[in-house]
């Protein structure tokens, strides 16, 4: 009930936007831009012949693989850079240069190295999501308050315990923030990668709909589906933020 009370203004605004869109298409008598009804119709058509689910599955699989690999590399690397000063001063400048390069700029190189296929897309997603997670993990370790590190020192605990009960949980909120950013970027990039180098996925679906007979109803349907799935992925990451072990960071 409470959720409904908070979301009704956005529902109203969304309804108004859809109405404006609908009226504009009807008034301008556009033959190519679809009405909302056409978009729903197109979506149903794709859902019925199963191709929609295949495209969603392909995109999610690529994001899962690329993002998963990025997590596996970024978090240990971030811890290492956070704890070892030499590692930080050596690696950080390199990452600071690589990080602002749009993942899209990597597309030609990705195709050169990995060909036109899944590997290219997974590589691009990896490149897109690995840097924010490295940076956030490092920041998470660097911003652990001295009083906690001193307390840990004071109790002479083993290295394992120091890592598992101090370093890891203390930096976990920042790591989760990094993962949220990383997954968001990964979802942006998969669509771009699929538009250029692949023959499946939501990005491909959009390009294909336009190239194969200006099916703009399917273009818009694809865009809306991308938006909704992106929202759902972010929702999953927000669930991580509500875990008990990180709630201290958001309490008060």
């Amino acid at each position: 009930m409470k959720g409904l009370r908070h979301s009704w203004p956005s529902i109203v605004v969304a309804a108004v936007l859809v109405a404006v869109w609908w009226v504009t298409v009807v008034v301008t008598k556009s033959v190519i831009f679809p009405t909302p009804a056409k978009v729903v119709e197109g979506t149903m058509e794709l859902a019925r012949d199963g191709s929609l689910w295949e495209h969603i599955g392909s995109s999610l699989m690529r994001v899962g693989a690329g993002f998963g690999l990025a997590v596996l590399l970024a978090i240990p690397l971030g811890f290492w850079m956070g704890r070892v000063h030499g590692a930080f001063v050596t690696m950080n400048p390199i990452f600071q240069i690589l990080r602002p390069i749009s993942p899209i700029a990597w597309i030609p190189i990705a195709i050169l190295w990995f060909g036109v296929g899944n590997a290219s897309a997974i590589y691009l997603i990896f490149i897109a999501s690995v840097f924010p997670m490295i940076v956030q993990t490092t920041v998470g370790v660097h911003t652990i308050e001295k009083r906690f590190l001193r307390a840990a020192d004071n109790f002479d605990v083993s290295r394992d315990k120091f890592f598992l009960q101090v370093i890891l949980p203390a930096s976990l909120p920042q790591i989760i923030t990094g993962m949220r950013i990383g997954l968001g970027v990964a979802w942006l990039v998969v669509v771009a990668a699929e538009m250029i180098a692949l023959r499946s996925g939501l990005g491909y679906m959009i390009m294909d709909a336009r190239n194969a007979g200006n099916r703009y109803d399917l273009v818009v349907a694809g865009m809306i589906i991308i938006g909704l799935i992106g929202l759902a992925l972010d929702g999953i990451m927000r669930l991580l933020e509500s875990m008990k072990i990180v709630r201290w960071r958001y309490a008060h």
Binding site: R147, R150, D153, N154, V157, K161, V166, P169, A170, W248
Partner: protein, 254 residues
């Protein structure tokens, strides 16, 4: 007991410490020497900014003195260890661990009955029933109790307390002082307390050292020969308080 030839529990010998600031050398501690006997409760009072916290960090082993040494049981100490646990004003209870996990933190896995010990100390400080709570669910006073329990459960020989109750309101601070005395009556520890609160020092300590403004030196030393429980409002305690304040340059009539 013939303990005359045993070394003092803590011994500072000619400790000096300076910091570089804006290209200038700032001397914080200047040639400081004093001893703390085993089981003694020594309070160090001094004006704010006189280097009390720096001094505490040196004594605990978190900072190294430029010259001089800190001996614990006659042996030089260079690193912090479990023999003496530091309790500070800000506190350092880990917010990501529950009360119980905090209490278990300093107990290695091979300590027999560590769970029971943690339970016993939670009970001792009055945190029974809150063991599965996270620190952000506790009040300031309870957090302090948790920190004290976490220190005591590892059976340290020394408690280092740096303004431990300053962040609490006056009433809670007094309550925690009484609590500390109650616990110390049960299990004896050597305590070194740093505070700016003269009344707190008079309430708790066996001996009070007054530090000078920076660079810190020992300016005066007072023995507190009053039996516990003390009444801080008693004439003897008040006279002592006035004498200490006078050393700090505060006159009550002024």
């Amino acid at each position: 007991m013939p303990t005359d030839n045993a070394p003092p529990k803590i011994s500072l010998q000619g400790v000096r410490k300076s910091f570089e600031k804006d290209g200038r050398t700032l001397e914080v501690i200047s040639d400081l020497s004093f001893d703390v006997r085993d089981s003694e409760f020594v309070a160090i009072v001094g004006p704010s900014g006189c280097g009390k916290t720096t001094l505490m960090n040196i004594i605990c082993g978190f900072l190294q003195p430029d010259t001089g040494a800190v001996l614990v049981d006659g042996k030089p100490r260079t690193e912090p260890n479990k023999k003496g646990i530091l309790i500070t004003q800000q506190g350092s209870v880990f917010p990501w661990l529950t009360v119980r996990q905090n209490l278990l933190f300093g107990l290695p896995d091979d300590v027999p009955e560590r769970e029971r010990l943690a339970h016993e100390y939670a009970d001792l400080v009055g945190l029974k029933g809150f063991e599965n709570n996270y620190p952000h669910e506790l009040s300031g006073g309870m957090l302090k109790r948790c920190e004290i329990a976490r220190a005591l459960v590892v059976k340290p020989e020394i408690l280092y307390m740096d303004e431990p109750f300053s962040a609490l309101d006056a009433l809670m601070s007094l309550r925690m002082q009484n609590e500390l005395l109650r616990i110390l009556a049960k299990e004896r520890h050597t305590v070194l307390l740093i505070t700016h609160d003269v009344e707190e020092a008079v309430h708790l300590a066996d001996r009070i050292l007054v530090l000078s403004p920076r660079p810190a030196r020992i300016q005066a030393s007072f023995d507190v020969n009053l039996p516990h429980p003390r009444r801080v409002s008693s004439p003897e305690a008040q006279a002592l308080r006035v004498a200490i304040l006078k050393e700090l340059g505060v006159s009550e009539t002024g």
